[in-house]
Symmetry: C2
Subunit: 203 residues, 2 copies
Amino acid sequence: MAMIKLYHAPRTRSIRILWLLEELGLPYQLATVAFRPPRHSFEQDTPAGKFPVIEDDGLVMFESGAILEYLIEKYGKGLLAPAAGSPERGPYLQWIHFAEATAMPPVNDITRHTLLLPEAERIPKVAEDARVRATNVLNVVERALAGKDYLVGHELSGADIMMGYFLMAARMLGVVGSAHANVGAYWERLAARPPLQKALSTH
Amino acid sequence: MAMIKLYHAPRTRSIRILWLLEELGLPYQLATVAFRPPRHSFEQDTPAGKFPVIEDDGLVMFESGAILEYLIEKYGKGLLAPAAGSPERGPYLQWIHFAEATAMPPVNDITRHTLLLPEAERIPKVAEDARVRATNVLNVVERALAGKDYLVGHELSGADIMMGYFLMAARMLGVVGSAHANVGAYWERLAARPPLQKALSTH
């Protein structure tokens, strides 16, 4: 099989794919590209203007959630995802989508309006409002993790890899609080994994 | 099989699932719930505080992209999705995720800051900025549709149902322009389908 190529920049969503590739022990080629603080969107120096992008057997593909589902389906050998038709399949898909569609937008707003935009263009009210929405998300995840080590089933799945990146960002932005004890313990569980440590230390 | 229950409000993302159920000819029970202009998030009167939510055989599930993948996988009988392992599988997953993770956030920003928030809390600069990002999204979709009737393969797929809702919203907000001829023709193609017409006219 041709080696998977990953366009990566530290601290971006490409961490998810790097972490996944390490969990699955797949060979890959890394194209590290400098991150540009974007003014709007699609401004990165990758084939899709975003992170992450992969190339796999001639296919160029973007969207971290899609790449994750695709790689697990194609190369996962049953790891990291409940089988189609199993009771955990719906929750698995739910948390994968939730992590990007619902959890990340407030994090993006906070990041843009406290860090990425030129100072004159930052709007404090937007970041403040996004903090409420990010906290709402964390409250949902906190409840979902009650009595559980992982979001789905008893083992790490792709859903945790998707959510892990959100938590990393939310922690960095100071949104994870004392009301989120399950989330805190869950994060420690994820952070202890060598594949995530490898992904975080790759530049 | 127990009948699928869908929590629905007109003009929300639950249109996607209604459209999907109609395309697949599945029996369903509709719980129509009044939409509340949200101040932040998770404020709707459904089991997840959002639209859509489904109940299926005791499973309560949210996130439109996840519900769509789940229902197609479980009840689609090979319709509306390329098989796992086929060359179209990656693009199918990509556009499903793109529609919500990348395309919808600017639409959400425009909607909140021109329509949903109390007037005193709307920030014109946020809507203006989001219009640039929404146009960037439409430019990507415009290029993806060059020479094609649907996003993936030669037939309607779940990716079109996901994108269709974005286009509906983007058109309503006046973001689709004369630079988007492929998008315009694609929308007409989708809008001609009785299952979408049924979904749009259900209250």
